[in-house]
Symmetry: C2
Subunit: 255 residues, 2 copies
DNA sequence: GAGTGGTCTAGACCACCTA
DNA sequence: AGGTGGTCTAGACCACTCC
């Protein structure tokens, strides 16, 4: 006689499915039996099976698609962004670092401009850029980046109004051949250092919707500050990345 | 007449609670009404309230404690590790970078050694260290780091056996005043560059247990490679960090 | 229209915490 | 003992997909 499994039924079911997946009986892309079928197989209520599926989905093993079924998630290469995304050596290609990385992975990258406006900065922006929070002291630009048909990044950039005023940065489309950072250089700010603060968290409901995030996928939240040749911060960008499709990489000297 | 809210009741409830939290009516540490009370207030079944609480918990706003209640999570400063964790300037303190960071945040840091053994390296380790996978070519060391009473990091280090053999690295306690990296320097490897590959994901059930992770908290997974003065990789460390208590920071030159 | 996942109900019992 | 969250049941209807 075997020892009875005293754990909750939902965990037991999740475990059996997990094993079937790692054993290859359920290959990436394969469809699981429907929740109603599983409930009957295991002799439980459908809600219990749903709880099991949620456990798997939270650890990123499966994705539920409404009206279609639950599928084993295919492992995919991460698009890695890192310190070299601003390197001058990528200049000559005329492509933004995101598009270069997409090309490497054989994906089609594109982006949309959502919002360009002069605003009052949030506190965490003002603090890092040494600006006041009591006036419209920054220009805010918002973009979304896509790889193939997946939205993978939300990007918000804040630029001190004293720098942005009267430049191409106010337009949706940046005319400068080197993009936004080309404009900064024309204004006398060359990026000498970057300061990236990185966190990970679950997405807000808003982000979940905008990035079409499957449940159980976290986001990587990067607060990037650009520092010029004099150590002055002149631009701050917040990247929110889908953690299942992207990552970061820093290959840097030890100082 | 106002437009009826057509979203699911669970989302509506989650939203109202979210607003109460951000408005400060429910301060950090405060206890929410019990699920049964909320169900009655909103005129729904308890399961619906539970779904709402799950949504909040997944975005890290609240924590449910079995038998006690659901509490607004206190915002806590992140312990940020980054490129300067290996900087020689921290040498003189005689503290490891993790302990320094803990001290800054006013927390008590400590660590445990779980495992020190010669092993066959996993493929991703062998590839980055240019080692074979068909022999016990590396020394593997595992640690857990604590801040106050919370386990915040699992750390696994792999060192080529040719470097580790006969050194202090085989012992649980490293005698060298500069720690593990002091030993590497004695062996002729000074860290000139680091290469950190960063991802985020939900924890495995195993990690969830070992780090006592509340549900809905992701982990940050860092694969760190140390490169010496000749560009040779001589050590690889994998950090798994609780994303709710820790983050990363890279302040680096643009090359 | 048939089948799928998403949401919801109105109960029940268990495991844990506090008093 | 009484209250809390955790799990579970056996239904129901809705929203979406595919044929």
């Amino acid at each position: 006689m075997t020892t009875p499994d005293r754990r909750p039924a939902s965990e037991r079911i999740a475990d059996e499915l997990r094993q079937a997946i790692s054993a290859g009986q359920l290959a990436p892309g394969a469809k699981l039996p429907s929740e109603r079928e599983l409930a009957e197989q295991y002799g439980t209520a459908r809600n219990t099976v749903r709880q099991a599926v949620r456990l798997l989905s939270e650890s990123g093993l499966v994705v539920a698609e409404h009206g279609r079924g639950v599928f084993v998630r295919a492992a995919s290469n991460l698009i890695r962004l890192g310190n070299d995304r601003y390197s001058p050596k990528h200049r000559e290609t005329g492509l933004s670092p995101f598009l270069i990385e997409c090309a490497k992975q054989g994906k089609a990258g594109r982006f949309e401009v959502l919002f360009v406006e002069r605003v009052v900065p949030p506190e965490y922006v003002a603090r890092r850029l040494n600006l006041p929070t009591d006036s419209e002291s920054v220009l805010q630009r918002e973009n979304v980046f896509w790889a193939d048909s997946d939205p993978v990044q939300g990007v918000t950039t804040w630029i001190p109004w004293t720098i942005a005023e009267g430049t191409d940065l106010l337009n949706d489309v940046i005319g400068h051949p080197y993009g936004i950072h080309g404009v900064f250089e024309d204004q006398g700010h060359t990026m000498a250092r970057l300061d990236d603060e990185i966190s990970a968290r679950m997405p807000t409901p808003d982000e979940r919707e905008r990035m079409q995030l499957p449940p159980g996928v976290p986001v990587i939240d990067v607060l990037h500050t650009s520092l010029d040749q004099d150590g002055v911060p002149y631009e701050l960008t917040r990247f929110v990345l889908r953690a299942d499709l992207s990552g970061l990489r820093y290959n840097v000297p030890v100082e």
